[in-house]
């Protein structure tokens, strides 16, 4: 088993914000089961702020911990602020990730961004798709 930080273990054992939002304002799905990990993020937006963030994840311990911390980091943030959650910040917040698990942090940030894109397109607003991070995995 890879050596995970205490923070990763905590978020894996007690993941925050697991679930779906029935009347979500935006949904973002990233990854696919064939490559091993898949994350779906659900967001609620109030006054341009993420009032609720939930996720469902199929994947390893790191994938689950990443989803959990991303949901925590994004909650209460404005859309602009949430856009600034990068894979590097996610990994840092988790006290580091093993090298071969870094792609999981990309997936988390991407899934959240896709959910924001989905919200914006539903609002008929221009979607500022962030340049996609290069995947390590």
């Amino acid at each position: 088993m890879p050596v995970y930080s205490d923070k990763v273990m905590d978020h894996f054992m007690n993941p925050r914000n697991v679930g779906e939002i029935e009347d979500a304002d935006g949904i973002g799905e990233e990854g696919n089961p064939v490559c091993g990990d898949m994350m779906t993020f659900y967001i609620k937006v109030n006054d341009s702020r993420l009032s609720d963030v939930k996720f469902k994840t199929f994947g390893c311990g790191a994938a689950i911990a990443v989803s959990s911390i991303v949901s925590e980091m994004a909650r209460g943030k404005t859309l602009e602020e949430a856009r600034k959650i990068t894979p590097a910040l996610v990994a840092e917040e988790l006290q580091g990730l093993p090298k071969n698990k870094h792609h999981c942090s990309n997936l988390g940030a991407q899934a959240l961004n896709k959910a924001i894109d989905d919200y914006l397109s539903k609002q008929g607003k221009p979607v500022k798709t962030r340049r996609r991070e290069k995947r390590n995995g």
């Binding site: 088993m1 697991v18 089961p33 490559c35 091993g36 898949m38 199929f58 390893c60 994938a63 689950i64």
Partner: protein
Amino acid sequence: MRRVYLDNTATTPLHPEVLEAMLPYLRDIYGNPQSIHNWGDAPREAIEDARARLADLIGSRPEEIIFTGSGTESNNLAIKGLAQAYQARGKHIVISAIEHFSVIHSAKTLEKRGFAATSVPVDGYGLVKLDELAKSIREDTIVVSIVHANGEVGTIQNIEEIAKLLKGRGIVGHPDNRLPGNASFCIEFIEGEAMLMLLSSWGIAASSGSACTSKALKASHVLTAMRIPPEIAQSSLLFTLMRDNTEEDIEYVLETLPPIVDRLRQMSPLYAKFLKKQSGGR
């Protein structure tokens, strides 16, 4: 908390009788068996005695028994050694797609040294396709190395039929053997490493062939060769038993595993999709 070790293909505890037989040589009796002085006498006698007894057990001559440090070393020695010894006769070897890496990598090394290697496919149960095996054998085939019992999925090959195919053709059969008590599962919609981590938190050791549990992030070559779809291979869970495991141990696993599966499935978008499909929605 109960501790249950079910990862005996990875490594297994020493049998107490083995420990007892070895203790004198680990503690009191030392010396190089090759030495002229008499420190070497007792170790030499012990090794030769062990060699003779092993030979007797499998019906070989003592000098045909070579001790190595591990199964990986044995496979390397057997395949590369046979290939080198018989290369005047031919330079083709046959293995199956579900061999241990020590066999697959030995074959690859030989290919770099000018040998040819054929990997025979298996069916969905991990059984070597005998017709494919028959087709793969050539005039210049010198070695056929096929794992008798697969350590990951537990499939036992029809080794007698395989031996018949080789008989009278001057081919050496190498039936690698690795059989623990083996229970191999794929639990759909959840991933192996996550299962292992939760099982470990409940004191249970198991293993998985999922991509996420491997350093190279590749799904098990055995499951892949059996044409298990990648998303199903991701959910691989393997228990391998030892003699000291008790019925209570297994009961404990049977109590502990279902809530873990439930917990991970509640988190899984794949399971949610499956449930929606089941109920007729999209």
